[in-house]
């Protein structure tokens, strides 16, 4: 019986936990889990990580970048398997050689290609991101690089969540599409983004399926369940004696398409049939 700790930032990432448990079970691992969630409050993660260490878990499955950091920064050598982490090296997770996992990054080139298929006529793209979220900043940069020559980019950086309250003033330039890189602040407060985007008639391409369900036109996103499932393979090898530092970080190679038919109708758009055909979900 293996004692495995699960360190969670928010239950919204629990699909990864379900995939992880399913993967271990299918691999025949006999494991008991201790789950600790910070319920969204990242400041609680170091204490929760220490609590898991205190219980003597053999491995920590850490969901999200801050959870992975808290687990890696423990003094004890407990191996860590993480997902979804956007930029594991940039977040300093790999230096100690005790962690591996699955990056959640969907390549920016793939996102640009998705947007081209979804909105073929778009020429200007607004990029709305939280400028003190390293992941959001990195993805915004990657997106700009990948979109060079395809879109004229307009940057909408917000430094605080309540700055979204005046998004209407910035949307006055009417980009053809508003792209939301990953990042908690914009994702959580999406209702405000949707409110103004709808008034301005600007389609939103998000990075989180939850935002598509709530009114974004579409998203190309990594499936957290699949990422968790892949992490289970890495965990099984570590439990069998492999050195976590020697296991390469994997990444999402088959992101899913999410679309919103009601958003398309209210924008007067028709969803391309080829995208509808491959969509994981088309929300109404």
């Amino acid at each position: 019986m293996h004692d495995i700790g699960i360190l969670q930032l928010t239950q919204h990432l629990d699909d990864a936990v379900r995939g992880f448990k399913a993967g271990l079970a299918e691999g025949g691992a006999d494991a008991a889990f201790t789950y600790r969630s910070a319920d969204g409050n990242a400041a609680l993660l170091p204490a929760l990580a220490a609590e898991l260490a205190g219980r003597g878990v053999e491995l920590i499955f850490a969901c999200s970048t801050p959870a992975a950091k808290a687990a890696v920064e423990l003094a004890s050598p407990i191996p860590v398997v993480f997902t979804p982490v956007f930029d594991p090296a940039g977040a300093g997770l790999l230096a100690a050689g005790k962690a591996t996992g699955m990056a959640g990054m969907v390549p920016a080139e793939a996102k640009v290609a998705f947007m081209r298929r979804l909105l073929p006529g778009a020429r200007t793209a607004g990029v709305l991101y939280h400028d003190s979220d390293a992941n959001a900043v990195l993805e915004a940069e990657n997106f700009r690089a990948a979109a060079a020559g395809t879109y004229e980019i307009i940057n909408f950086a917000v430094s605080r969540s309540d700055h979204l309250s005046t998004l209407d003033e910035r949307l006055a330039v009417r980009p053809d599409v508003l792209f939301l890189p990953i990042g908690r602040v914009v994702e959580e407060n999406f209702a405000t983004v949707a409110y103004y985007a709808e008034l301005a008639g600007v389609p939103v391409v998000a990075s989180s399926p939850a935002n598509v369900a709530a009114g974004a036109l579409g998203a190309l996103a990594a499936d957290h369940y699949k990422l968790g499932y892949a992490c289970a393979g890495q965990a099984a090898r570590i439990l069998a004696g492999a050195d976590p530092g020697s296991l390469p970080v994997g990444r999402a190679d088959e992101p899913d398409v999410f679309l919103n038919a009601a958003a398309a109708r209210s924008l007067g758009l028709v969803l391309p049939a080829d995208l509808v055909a491959i969509a994981r979900e088309v929300y109404e």
């Binding site: 969670q8 928010t10 239950q11 919204h12 629990d14 699909d15 789950y35 600790r36 969630s37 319920d39 969204g40 409050n41 204490a47 969540s161 309540d162 700055h163 979204l164 309250s165 005046t166 209407d168 959580e188 407060n189 209702a191 405000t192 409110y195 103004y196 008034l199 939850a210 369900a213 709530a214």
Partner: protein
């Protein structure tokens, strides 16, 4: 009996709750249920049936929440869903919309009913009405103290359910319209975007609060309820069901909190006199908290002590403030000319604050005027002598006068209703308007005058209108969260004439928490408010730059207004066919302005003039929920 009642949003949470010793679990289906933000949460029909079997096998009870307002279009599906629930047989349904009372009776269902906290039940008379419809238990308002609960239980025999732990509303539940009107996502339909968690500035007489007095931006951010240290008082007060909040919580959280309360309750029941709270368990509960804890209103109004102004422990946000939808977009107006006979045209009604405004309303063509109810500082309440004079004025002008009662009528307000209602029998105004089921029952018992139901009944479908009719109501006001399309559908099917509020400042929230006292008085100290609210000119300012007036009534309740006054001038056409009356909320306007607004709507209703750009605005105007096709 003491029942520990735990929430479950997922199957894992259900198992965790039962394994941790919950006596009962409440959960919702995918439909007609609060907490609808998350698609992966809640139970589909097959899972509901399995949940009933699972809890029964384990000796626990299962309550299914059907606690949404139901739109006209959803009624057929609701009937199917209720038939399904009757078949699988949970131990009770937890309901909000009174249409459920009507439907359960009509369909002959035998499932016990519990009144959700979203019904805003806060007085004895309301309990008696609910009992007549088979409601055996009420989840009482969080604004009620334990001693008030005890009294109601002793007088009615109703089972008391009370929240003991979790995330709470700062405003009166079921009466908060902020999310529904601004975003079209109603907190009464499980989609609250939590405007109470936004940062706000505060102004008094137009001046921002001095920095050294400002305790922080999160002025409405209530701490989490926790009565763990007060279980003996709860049990002795006669609360039978101890409710833990959190249908969006993880199995881990639900299991942990349920276990902590389970062990404490069992230890108390085994040896009440020898009981002391377990310090290690309390430390665990406290260390694992999201927000800081408060006892809310269990032992009295907690004032500013229940609010964490810093926002430091706020786990997440759901939205940020937005600029409300403007009325600036031109509107078409009713088709002019002589369509329809004058007799079939809707009435024009207006609520006014004083005699001068009343005269202005009648002078400019109002058919009906509402007086009474809340008086917002610095205004004084209507005296009986003034009401008598108003009734005489109405008679002279050939118009109608309707006397209103407060929106929230707790023990004090109910106690103050009887005498005026009896006096009205002699003054003979044209009716009494009531705002909650308790006041409705008292009015029906004490007066023979026609009864009207105000917007706070959250009328969202024609079955609820039928229920109101069965309680003696002769005209009912449509919920302020209903869109034009939804109001028209309701009106077409309603057995009662309906009234739609079309103009004026509307209340986003009503709360027992007093902001002027918290910020200008000696906030956290009881009994020392120093009457700082008497000037009456307060506002919350949000991050979109909008200003929300805060009005204080004679009962010390705070009413937070939307930044924009509703203005549907020129947008009445879809409603004109089926609606019996259009109302102007003129209580926050002076007499001159009341006259201008009434005259403008009179012209539109008489089809004499399509409204032009509206010049009569002391405050910005918007179209509220009429921006949306349907409130979600």
């Amino acid at each position: 009996m003491v029942e520990l009642l735990a929430p479950a949003g997922t199957w894992d949470a259900l198992e965790a709750a039962v394994n941790a010793g919950a006596d009962a679990v409440y959960l919702g289906g995918k439909r007609f249920n609060m907490r609808l933000h998350r698609r992966d949460a809640n139970f589909d029909d097959a899972a509901l049936a399995r949940a009933v079997a699972f809890t029964r096998d384990r000796g626990a009870r299962l309550y299914v929440t059907v606690n949404n307002l139901v739109s006209e279009a959803e009624l057929p599906a609701l009937r199917d869903y209720l038939a399904f629930l009757q078949e699988i047989g949970p131990d009770a349904l937890i309901i909000q919309d009174p249409c459920l009372l009507e439907l359960v009776r009509e369909m002959g269902l035998t499932l016990p009913l519990h009144a959700s906290v979203m019904m805003n039940t806060h007085n004895e008379a309301a309990v008696r009405t609910l009992q007549a419809y088979g409601v055996t238990r009420v989840v009482f308002n969080r604004e009620m103290t334990l001693s008030e609960l005890t009294l109601i239980r002793e007088r009615t025999g109703i089972e008391l359910e009370y929240f003991v732990h979790g995330d709470m509303c700062v405003a009166h539940s079921g009466q908060c319209l902020h999310s529904g009107v601004v975003f079209g996502q109603s907190s009464n339909r499980g989609r609250c975007l939590k405007p109470c968690r936004w940062p706000y500035g505060f102004t008094a007489a137009g001046k921002p609060l001095a920095a050294e007095r400002d305790p922080g931006p999160y002025k409405l951010a209530l701490k989490d309820m926790c009565l763990y240290l007060h279980l003996p008082q709860l049990i002795q007060a006669g609360v039978v069901s101890f409710k833990i909040e959190g249908r969006m919580r993880t199995a881990d959280f639900v299991g942990r909190i349920t276990g902590l309360y389970r062990r404490a309750i069992d230890r108390y029941l085994a040896d009440p006199a020898g009981y002391a709270a377990d310090e290690a368990e309390w430390r665990e509960l406290h260390a694992g908290r999201a927000r800081d804890f408060t006892t809310c209103y269990a032992f009295g109004n907690p004032g500013a002590g229940a609010v964490d102004f810093s926002g430091a422990r706020e786990p997440r946000f759901f939205s940020q403030a937005v600029k409300e939808a403007s009325a600036a977009v031109p509107a078409a107006g009713l088709p002019s000319g002589g369509e329809g006979s004058p007799a079939s045209r809707p009435l024009l009604s207006v609520r006014v604050a004083d005699m001068e405004s009343l005269a202005a309303a009648y002078g400019n063509g109002a058919d009906v005027a509402y007086v009474g109810g809340e008086a917002f500082k610095p205004a004084k309440p209507w005296t009986l002598a003034e009401i008598a004079a108003a009734a005489r004025l109405a008679e002279e002008r050939g118009a109608a006068l309707v006397v209103t009662t407060p929106r929230i009528t707790a023990a004090r307000e109910c106690g103050e209703l009887a005498a005026p209602l009896r006096s009205l029998e002699e003054m003979r105004p044209h009716g009494v308007m009531v705002s909650n089921p308790g006041a409705l029952r008292l009015a029906a018992e004490l007066t023979t005058l026609p009864l009207y139901a105000d917007f706070s009944f959250n009328l969202f479908n024609s079955l609820t209108a039928r229920w109101l009719q069965n309680q003696g109501v002769s005209r009912a006001t449509v919920a302020l969260e209903a869109t034009g399309t939804q109001a028209a559908a309701m009106a077409a099917a309603s057995p009662l004439p309906l009234e739609v509020v079309v103009h004026g400042p509307l209340e986003a929230m009503v709360m027992d928490y007093c902001l002027p006292r918290a910020l200008l008085g000696n906030g956290t100290q009881p009994g020392l408010c120093r009457d700082v609210c008497r000037g009456g000119d307060f506002a919350l300012t949000d991050s979109a730059g909008e200003s929300h007036a805060v009005k204080v009534d004679q009962y010390c309740r705070n009413h937070i207004l939307f930044a924009r006054d509703l203005c549907l001038a020129g947008r009445l056409a879809p409603l004109a066919a089926g609606v019996g009356a259009f109302r102007i909320e003129g209580q926050h306007y002076g007499p001159g302005h009341v006259g201008e607004v009434v005259a403008a709507y009179r012209r539109e209703l008489d089809r004499a003039a399509v409204p032009e750009a509206l010049p009569f605005a002391p405050r910005p105007m918007g179209i509220g929920v009429f921006r949306y096709e349907a409130s979600r």
